[in-house]
């Protein structure tokens, strides 16, 4: 038998299109091959700045999402009771008509009665703008339940943040500390970066209770007890302070470490910076032995000591307050070791390694640059200690302070945006804070809000509270419960809408599965969505859901508006939102329709713009009431937020301009010619020290990224925090309600503090002694992966992972069943035993469990029968206080949902071999038009051979 003849050079397909992946929010560039009108192959775009040609498992499975039987097919109107999944298909005209009438009535009465909550979309600059023009403050996107702790702590400390707004310097870092990251939004860039660090022989330290994924490849795994990172970081700071391993020169040049803090307890400016008459903060100059403007360049500022101000009051440099706090024996490694679950010797060693790299192995690049004070520097020198953190820090009720602690550590080392450290991604850094406070208290005559609903409070006067200090917003953001709730608090939206029926008429949900995996308590949340008052009316009067797939939440809608999927629509990954910029420069991208629509659905942004036109919203309809934009594509090209600043920064004007420049009618074509993205490479002198880099700041201002090119002074000490605290101490007009006064006083500390996660203190002396957390699986994106034939084979079920010692003490073996109980609820599931795990922690993969009948899966699918959500043991509320009030289960500074605070106990249970996880919910009926179909893929025998 001869060897077969193989077609070695068969063309991949017959056409190629470049667009942006949306199997997750990482925004990789993809090259889509089509063959005979069908998708043949999706690969990474090698020229794309985000993924440079690589693609993750999800991205590689895009074909199967395009063929998913769970795709919605037509607008749906509810005919059965809510939650029963009984709908009739309706035409778009009718659907838009229903929505328009409802929303128009709301806008005429009280625009705040529209609660508009959107998930991890990438059109927040549009949705936020819609809410602004509509005039409702009750708008938020997913940040509140996601990682607002990271965003707020970063933005209020460094004018930039971990999350998607920064990246380690993969080229120069020699030690990399990764705090609580399993996957993150930068999925592919982080993996590329880790590979680069490995290649360069840098050391990776992963601080994480669980040793999987990134932690598996780390050179050192620190199996920390959840919620104690703040202590660990304080202890590292303690060691560095003790050994004098601090970059004092950096501190006085780029932070407010030398600013004098007024020490006058009881007075209204206690803890604020001492200022001169021009408002300049003061420092103590050791040369002249006088207080001088801290911004002056000819001073030798003191960092320790106590000084007298002109008015005779005492003041101390911010650094002195800091040093005094963290040098305390309370933060010695020996003192925190047990609480953190990390041996003291390891803390000492890691501190020594950081110090070694920072101070003996500094990186110098021969690149002259000029600082904001106009001084030329011949080189760029940095401390090659990089850090990154995400939801392991963020999703705790002490996450804001923990994250700030990490930023303080970075600053003390001089490791912010220097060679080898963590770097800002464009469009960051931004001023601290970067923009106006939240809108909501007043409206313009045209009904719109003066600015975006989500903003950045600078003090109590920016809060959205009533005279009694109680929240104005439905989700409690920007109230005394979450003063820096800059992303809103989506996890409170449904329960609070249910609790305050007088405040909300329509709940408009886009792209968030809020009855299921983004609910802290899905059973309760679903119940609330379907709950009725005495007269039989729904407590939440009207629910509109915009989804692309048959999710669990669709079942609770009165009106379902089906969206196109990512290969069928235009999208804009804009600098006004969460762009694809990197440390190397600004960049943005688009998605383009690669596939023709094969069902009666509409891209969401098209329908939102249409809705804006129909509602005659300002800037969506012209003076004559005619819609301004034909479509989203039209909006992307023609919309200007400020003169010359549109959704896309590239190819403006005549096609060669970028940043602030006139509209280019051919902009989309220019993007398509450039493989659907635009990138501007910063010249080398602008690549580091961006907060004080004259040329960078000037360039960013010219591009419209920032309004001022002043130096951005890093906030080692947060005066803004202190302003809220002063209110709690009785100063100022806007006062917290009594029940929260003590909490505000405690948590609005201008320097990072540590307290046990709130749930843990609430559960103290209860049987719930185990921490329960979740991780993102790399091959699944939240709930949407399960409809994907390929991805679901990888994770069609999940298990609860337990440490081998815990397994031994509970007599557990792999696949045994346990009941997991918290103060809030219980689940029954199977276990898997592992060693690489903090012994007091149990964990599982997030969002694998599905409700039977959802996602186009057959009833009895393993996702529903043996998969489970940990969410059933969580609650969006803390137990009621003496007055019966229930605080949200969130970080008290930012309102970040405290997903990872959960405390549980486990017991072994006997379950029959055909057993199912608990709780189980009644199976959802199949949606009309979604009857199970074997998709064409199999009939076509895969693709043509």
């Amino acid at each position: 038998m001869a060897e077969e003849t193989i077609a070695l050079s068969k063309p991949v397909g017959d056409s190629v299109a470049y667009t942006t992946c949306y199997m997750c929010a990482c925004r990789c560039g993809i090259k889509v091959h089509m063959k005979d009108g069908a998708l043949r192959y999706i690969e990474g775009n090698r020229d794309h700045p985000v993924n440079r040609g690589v693609l993750c498992a999800k991205g590689s499975a895009g074909i199967m999402t395009a063929l998913s039987p769970a795709r919605l097919r037509k607008p749906l109107k509810r005919v059965g009771p809510r939650g029963a999944n009984e709908f009739v298909e309706i035409e778009w005209d009718e659907a838009m008509d229903i929505a328009t009438k409802r929303l128009a009535a709301i806008r005429d009465s009280d625009p705040n009665k529209l609660a508009f909550f959107t998930g991890r979309d990438q059109s927040q600059s549009l949705t936020g703008y819609f809410a602004q023009m509509f005039g409702t403050m009750n708008y938020a996107a997913h940040g509140g339940f996601c990682s607002v702790n990271m965003a707020a702590a970063g933005i209020y400390s460094m004018g930039g943040a971990f999350w998607e707004f920064g990246e380690p310097d993969w080229e120069y870092a020699k030690i990399f500390l990764l705090f609580g990251v399993a996957e993150d939004h930068d999925s592919n860039p982080i993996k590329l970066g880790l590979a680069r660090l490995k290649q360069r022989g840098a050391k990776i330290i992963s601080i994480n209770p669980v040793r999987t994924g990134y932690s598996a490849v780390a050179d050192e795994f620190v199996g920390i007890t959840p919620g104690t990172d703040g202590l660990l970081v304080f202890s590292l700071i303690h060691c560095l302070l003790k050994q004098g391993k601090i970059d004092t020169q950096y501190l006085v040049s780029y932070t407010n470490a030398h600013y004098l803090v007024i020490d006058a307890p009881g007075s209204a400016d206690h803890g604020l910076f001492a200022r001169d008459l021009q408002g300049n903060p003061l420092a103590f100059d050791r040369t002249t032995q006088q207080t001088k403007s801290a911004r002056a360049t000819d001073i030798d500022p003191a960092l320790l000591g106590e000084y007298r101000l002109a008015d005779g009051r005492r003041a101390r440099p911010a650094f002195a307050c800091l040093a005094e706090r963290y040098i305390s024996g309370d933060y010695a490694p020996e003192a925190v070791a047990e609480r953190c679950g990390v041996p003291a010797a390891d803390i000492h060693r890691i501190a020594a390694e950081i110090a070694e790299v920072a101070f003996n192995q500094a990186v110098t690049i021969n690149q002259p640059w000029t600082d904001s004070n106009g001084r030329r520097h011949e080189t760029m020198t940095g401390r090659p200690v990089a850090m990154h953190g995400m939801r392991g820090i963020s999703a705790h009720s002490n996450g804001f302070h923990t994250c700030r602690a990490i930023h303080i550590l970075q600053m003390l080392l001089g490791a912010v945006d220097t060679p080898g450290s963590w770097r800002y991604k464009s469009p960051y850094p931004k001023p601290i804070p970067p923009g106006p406070g939240p809108a909501g208290r007043e409206r313009k005559p045209d009904g719109s809000l003066p600015s975006l609903p989500l903003g950045f409070p600078k003090g109590p006067e920016d809060l959205l509270v009533d005279a009694g200090g109680e929240p104005l917003r439905i989700d409690r953001a920007f109230s005394w419960e979450a003063p820096l709730g800059i992303h809103g608090m989506m996890h409170m939206a449904i329960s609070e809408a249910h609790a305050h029926p007088e405040k909300i008429d329509t709940l408009f949900l886009f792209m968030a599965n809020m009855a299921w995996n983004s609910a802290m308590n899905p059973g309760e949340t679903s119940r609330m969505l379907a709950d009725c008052d005495e007269s039989g009316n729904y407590t939440i009067p009207f629910v509109i859901v915009v989804d692309a797939f048959a999710s669990e939440t669709v079942a609770y809608a009165d009106l379902v508006l089906p969206d196109a999927t990512y290969l069928e629509r235009y999208d804009c990954i804009s600098l006004l939102d969460r762009p694809i910029g990197s440390a190397h420069g600004p960049a943005d991208a688009i998605r383009i329709p690669v596939l023709p629509l094969d069902r009666d659905v509409r891209p969401f942004q098209d329908m939102l713009i249409d809705l804006g036109g129909r509602l005659k919203l300002p800037n969506f309809a012209d003076a004559a009431g005619q819609p301004i934009y034909k479509s989203y594509a039209d909006y992307i090209v023609r919309h200007e937020r400020k003169p010359g600043v549109g959704p896309l920064a590239g190819f403006r004007g005549d096609g060669t301009a970028f940043g602030k420049a006139p509209v280019n009618p051919n902009q989309l074509d220019d993007y398509i010619k450039n493989k659907s993205f635009w990138v501007h490479h910063l010249p080398p002198e602008q690549l580091y020290f961006k907060y004080a880099n004259r040329d960078y700041l000037a360039g960013a201002k010219a591009m419209g990224l920032i309004d001022s090119d002043q130096q951005i002074v890093l906030n080692l000490y947060s005066e803004i925090m202190q302003k809220f605290r002063l209110a709690a101490q009785g100063h100022g007009a806007v006062q917290p309600p009594e029940r929260l006064r003590h909490q505000i006083d405690a948590v609005m500390d201008p320097l990072p503090i540590w307290y046990a996660p709130i749930e843990e203190s609430v559960s103290q002396s209860s049987p719930y002694t185990l921490h329960a957390i979740t991780q993102r699986p790399m091959a699944m994106y939240h709930s949407w992966g399960s409809q994907n034939v390929w991805l679901r084979q990888i994770l069609s079920e999940n298990r609860l992972y337990v440490h081998s010692s815990l397994a031994a003490s509970h007599g557990l073996d792999n696949e045994d069943w346990v009941r997991v109980t918290s103060r809030n609820g219980e689940i029954t599931c199977q276990v898997r035993v592992m060693d690489g795990l903090n012994p007091n922690t149990v964990w599982t993969w997030n969002a694998i469990g599905k409700r039977s009948g959802s996602w186009g899966l057959k009833e009895g699918a393993p996702e529903a029968k043996r998969g489970f959500l940990l969410n059933h043991v969580l609650s969006e509320y803390l137990p009621a206080d003496a007055s019966g009030q229930r605080l949200s289960n969130s970080d008290p500074v930012t309102g970040q949902a405290a997903w990872f605070d959960a405390m549980v106990k486990i017991e072994k249970v006997e379950v029959a071999s055909q057993g199912t996880t608990l709780p189980q919910f009644p199976a959802l009926k199949s949606l009309p038009g979604l009857q199970f179909r074997m998709q064409g893929w199999l009939h076509r025998g895969g693709m043509n051979k």
Partner: protein, 247 residues
């Protein structure tokens, strides 16, 4: 031909080198492999009960994870991608009664000719690594083709003439090349990182190599003895802040 080809002088020995030190276990290679190959030379790679109660399917590459204890890499979790190793002494080829299973003389790639395979499954029994999977719909055996329809594909740009799994790996844990050429990138990696054969004791002489996990260290000078801490600032810090600072 079921008999193994005579080794040719200077013939290529194409294979993969997989770095267990950087593999994060993301399954990207596995899914991209499935995506490429379900439309490639061995198309399709079927899925059974795609939306049903017992989903199942054919994959050329699957990612395991293990926990390792002790030894120079310390306690750690090891992610482990498993696909055909394109062995030099592949019994999967010699047991085949039809000649459907064969090893190419020119580059050592082990393939199945689906047009003559009778689906006796014996080759899958003869593979110690579980690298062959049976297509229940077509009744023939399938396996990793080393992306033979990519690596020589003249319609692709030079840089893309690599296996799909290699190009897609976000952690750069997969490398492709000629292991017969001591100067190739893969051979150098194997030499430098002590690339390992899997189950060498069985004598299949796998072409693919696995780079074992390692551990980066930062040598630090004598560690300060953990001193009992006091609230005082300590001389080190005082000396430091005493220095003249300029803004």
């Amino acid at each position: 031909m079921t008999s193994l080809p005579q080794p040719q002088i200077g013939a290529k020995k194409l294979g993969l080198v997989i770095d267990l030190d950087t593999c994060v276990g993301c399954h990207a290679c596995a899914v991209n492999c499935k995506e490429w190959n379900t439309g490639g030379h061995s198309a399709p790679l079927p899925d059974y009960q795609p939306y049903g109660v017992e989903p199942d399917g054919l994959w050329f590459n699957r990612i395991h994870s293990y926990e390792a204890e002790g030894g120079s890499c310390g306690d750690r979790t090891v992610n482990f991608p498993r696909s055909c190793l394109h062995c030099e002494e592949p019994q999967c080829v010699t047991v085949c009664p039809t000649g459907a299973s064969y090893k190419r003389a020119e580059d050592g790639i082990v393939l199945v000719n689906a047009d003559i395979c009778i689906g006796c499954k014996l080759c899958s029994w003869a593979c110690p690594y579980g690298a062959r999977e049976f297509d229940e719909n077509q009744g023939v055996m399938k396996k990793c083709t080393l992306c033979v329809d990519r690596i020589y594909n003249e319609t692709l740009p030079e840089a893309e003439r690599q296996p799909a799994c290699v190009l897609t790996c976000p952690s750069k844990a997969r490398h492709f090349g000629d292991l017969n050429d001591p100067a190739s990138e893969v051979s150098i990696l194997v030499a430098l990182r002590e690339g390992q054969d899997l189950m060498p004791e069985l004598g299949y002489r796998p072409t693919n190599k696995y780079l074992p996990p390692r551990k980066a260290k930062i040598p630090v000078s004598a560690q300060p003895a953990p001193t009992a801490s006091t609230a005082g600032f300590g001389s080190a810090l005082l000396n430091l802040v005493d220095r003249v600072l300029s803004r």
